[in-house]
């Protein structure tokens, strides 16, 4: 049986795609990261050059992994049916409190609910007290391509959809608060694209 191919997001224009815009959440994230050095940052959106430069340029180490690809590979792999775990082995297996910041972008929205809960639980475990997490959420639900998010300056973010369109769940402010209830505080910034930028403190 052949599955119908999913529609894809419009190809990124050569040289950049969408224009960069100011991000108040990123501004806060940058301010936090610039306060110390030799930290560990995780990026759940995968590696891209601008984000590598952004994090390593401030003297930190970056761990990059696209959790959507990791989960898709695991769920489609031979071991998936033999495990009761909601996250693949080795996914963000950092020691407790050893990570200082996490860039989740919009990835949490595209995961099934058990995987989202497990991932948030793992982030809570690996983030150091006082550590910071940056995530994006659309309030509605439907189907979109995940966002490629590039840091183009200390306060500037360029986002554009890439890859296959996938269903995602909408999160209200209340449901985001519930998702991060173990964490210490949340701060919300609503953008022009109707995205909620969320800064979470461990």
């Amino acid at each position: 049986m052949n599955a119908k191919p999913l529609p894809r997001a419009p190809a990124e224009k050569a040289g950049g795609g969408s224009a960069a815009r100011r991000s108040y959440a990123l501004e806060q994230f940058t301010e936090y990261l610039s306060g110390f050095e030799l930290g560990q940052v995780v990026d759940l959106g995968g590696a891209c050059q601008s984000n590598v430069d952004y994090v390593t340029g401030m003297g930190h180490r970056l761990y990059a992994e696209d959790v959507l690809l990791t989960l898709a590979a695991w769920q489609g792999g031979p071991a998936a049916g033999q495990s009761t775990d909601t996250l693949p082995p080795g996914c963000l297996e950092f020691p407790r409190s050893s990570v200082h910041a996490a860039l989740c972008w919009d990835r949490l929205q595209f995961l099934a609910e058990p995987a989202t809960a497990a991932l948030v639980e793992r982030l809570h475990r690996i983030l150091a007290p006082g550590g910071m997490l940056f995530a994006l959420f659309y309030p509605d639900q439907g189907a979109r391509a995940p966002l490629a998010c590039r840091v183009t300056g200390p306060h500037e973010l360029q986002i554009h959809p890439v890859g296959a369109v996938r269903p995602f769940r909408g999160y209200s402010t209340r449901s985001i608060e519930k998702m991060f209830q173990q964490f210490d505080s949340l701060k919300f910034y609503l953008t022009r694209e109707n995205l909620q930028e969320v800064i979470v403190r461990r």
Binding site: Q28, Q40, G59, S98
Partner: protein, 171 residues
Amino acid sequence: MATHSTRTADFGTVRSGALLGKSLTITGEIRGDEDLVIDGKLEGDVDLPQHRLTIGPSGVLHGKIRAREIVVYGTVQGNLQASERVEIKKHAKVIGDLKAQRPVIEDEAYFKGNVETVRAEAPKTAAPAPAGVQAAQASAASGAAGQPSASGAPAASTGSGAGGRQESRKG
């Protein structure tokens, strides 16, 4: 049969050196004093501290790499350490930690692992970290491969910068 010069053209700036061809599979360690292009399969480490290693589009390497420059078009599973630059090209796949002065990851490359830049000058001294992060940072510095041990530092209070539409605070 493809000649070395044909492959040289495929990989851009490679001028000379050894070639492990597509049909070759090697298990073992490679050390050397010349540039190397791997377009076959290698199970083992590569150590070319003064030279350039290129993993061609058909190249698959499972092992650690240490070289002056590393350019990956194919697949690598293992840590990469370069005294100058590492380039992970479009459609390449790398799973492992990357340490270089200039790491370059092209769009549409798959990379999973840690990226750390190595600076030519003496390493910096860590500045004071935010409360709660300090203990974890100390253990991170002493931990193996960025996997520091757990820290039971107390929770820190959170910031309250301007510009937030809404803030939720517990406790």
